[in-house]
Symmetry: C2
């Protein structure tokens, strides 16, 4: 059954672009900045997976803001060269040398996997990195190899810590991937704020109100107006404003991610992590961990247990107001399946941006290929 | 400054009991069931720490329901003997043999610490355990040794997974302890539901309404009546009902804890974890992890970074409606400091229960000692 987390609406403003040509464009985008073939392939895969999963806020529409601008300014470097600062049988401290987080993240997780396969568990602390795309991609690198993967990153401050006002802590996502034999996979990928900033920007573009509770204005009051949050306001931690509904728990999770990713790696943390468009080295820190299930039980046995677990969740009594019961990651997986078949929906404004970028970078032929293969949804 | 998370209210219904005599009573309580001296000391320390932290729902008022009843019925055994089922340099799978979770948890965390000190990180999976008290105690065992400690446990189902009704997943807490040189420590200890069931029971006892959002009635509707939740209803995951304010994220965290604690250890999970008063083996599973900071940086350097982190949080701009900005664990730590000095507030009904228990178990002299040393708050 075809399903998409966010259906392209209104359809007349969208093209469907086949996955392979969009990926080819993205590879050329990174190569145009001097990224080597192998690393460009990694970076593009992270970006395109976000679009496949229906997390457009981390897909090609972010190429300009998250990568073009800081690469052009030289605040992030076109390499994926990491240095291992410190290393032991189960751990490594890695310096990203201000390279591209997308690539650094994958390489760091591969180190964690290698260590876990030998020792049972491995963790890697990364300093001086930058935006690494969707947290879940990196966790999935481990689960694709039959291991449990944990991926965390801090971000520039966008959230108001409990009992404060203003932006002072990141949206600091946590992702955990559990390997499964059959789809859907179990992939948890969550900002520790109620929503990421991308949702506020979408609401503004669509001139819609946001649900009360997502964010505060500059005076610390709840607001339905996305503008209030974008201009002087802040997002709220999972659990919301104050402690009544557990806002302090969301704040706890944000601190946890900041300490594991930023403090333990000696990278930036709190207000010392910078946005990709700030003109400063982002100083983003990451935390990766892989756990080798085979050390504690045969993987086939684990797969059976996890299928039983999924069946248990799916068999629960549905809430009368709900459409269906979802396994974590199932929506993204089904969206991916649909988009592999139909192509990735790209808004006309994003198409225009991809065209501009292709002219500026001299990769116009790859944009032309997108254009040739794109289908208008309604024309 | 004297501070208590929950001040004894109304004070005329409370006694203050010195910590040492309450602990002595609790040690004798466990010894009366045949628990050996050393293990009884561990179990009592976990219970009394809950009372010191202001988490009464896991303190002496639970001795009857969580320990007396299942010990008397023989569904949990008076030993803390764990068997190591599988072991490697960084991990162990432990069988709790239906013993007392309080003791099993501490012993399992000690194994994780030993492994972390050698290898950098260690994790221990525990099956066939029972209620292990406050999750934070076990995490703190690691931070008291200068390591980062992570402690998780599943519990009998009390929460409605997103888009379902009824109780089908545990309150599955996550605790993380970060070692610090100076107080307050950083101790995160949170149920992955908005509140634990204890808060609903307190509201019922005080004949108070609960905030809308904490739980649902048997038809899946939000309710302010604690009775609705206790009779056929369920608690809600952090983030609340549905997905608007991130309820699916709380559900993700609950699943994560259930998989790491229950599935990976091959213990109970989902509806196959039983309450201490159910008359069945609880089949509770735990997950413990310790990370040795010294492997990645000198501990003194980490302590300085963490003090800077705490200072950063404390220095944020306070929300106009908030009393103050709190570090995770700070409230518990300040409550402990106060109660070490003044004693632990015990409600007259709990005093009565402690007296009854002491008669039934033949440890009346230890109750008499409590009584002799207790001070009425107002009389």
């Amino acid at each position: 059954m075809l399903y998409e987390k966010k259906r392209p609406k209104p359809p007349e403003e969208y093209y469907r672009v086949p996955v392979d040509v969009l990926k080819e464009y993205t590879i050329e985008f990174f190569k145009a900045f001097g990224v080597c073939d192998r690393d460009a392939e990694i970076a593009a895969d992270v970006i395109i997976t976000a679009d496949l999963f229906g997390i457009e806020s981390h897909g090609v529409q972010r190429l300009r803001r998250y990568y073009y601008t800081p690469l052009a300014k030289g605040v992030i470097k076109p390499h994926g060269n990491i240095s291992i600062v410190k290393e032991g049988p189960t751990y490594a401290v890695v310096d990203g040398n201000n390279g591209i987080g997308l690539i650094i993240g994958v390489k760091a997780m591969r180190i964690a996997i290698k260590k876990a396969k030998k020792s049972g568990v491995g963790f890697v602390l990364v300093r001086n990195s930058s935006h690494y795309g969707i947290a879940g991609y990196h966790a999935k690198v481990a689960s694709d190899n039959g291991l449990i993967g944990i991926s965390m990153t801090n971000s520039q401050p966008l959230v108001a810590y409990t009992n404060t006002i203003g932006r002072n802590i990141g949206t600091n996502p946590i992702a955990v991937a559990i390997p499964t034999k059959n789809p859907p996979p179990i992939l948890i990928d969550m900002a520790t704020s109620i929503v990421p900033m991308g949702k506020i920007e979408v609401a503004l573009r669509l001139k819609k109100e946001i649900p009360l509770g997502w964010g505060m204005n500059e005076r610390g009051e709840l607001t339905k107006n996305p503008k209030d949050i974008l201009h002087g306001g802040a997002l709220l931690p999972l659990g919301g404003l104050g402690e009544t509904l557990g806002g302090h728990k969301g704040s706890c999770l944000a601190i946890l991610v900041d300490i594991l990713s930023g403090v333990l790696s000696k990278s930036g943390w709190g207000a010392n992590v910078y946005s990709p468009s700030s003109g400063r080295s982002p100083k983003v820190g990451h935390f990766f961990m892989a756990i080798d299930i085979e050390k504690v039980m045969p993987i086939e046995e684990f797969y059976s247990l996890i299928e039983a677990y999924k069946k248990y969740i799916k068999g629960l009594k549905k809430h009368p107001n709900a459409d269906r019961i979802w396994i974590p990651g199932e929506k993204s997986w089904r969206t991916m399946t649909t988009r592999m078949k139909l192509g990735i929906p790209i808004h006309i404004s994003v198409m225009k941006e991809l065209e501009e970028i292709s002219r500026e970078l001299g990769i116009k032929e790859y944009y032309e290929k997108i254009k040739r293969n794109a289908k208008r949804l309604f024309s």
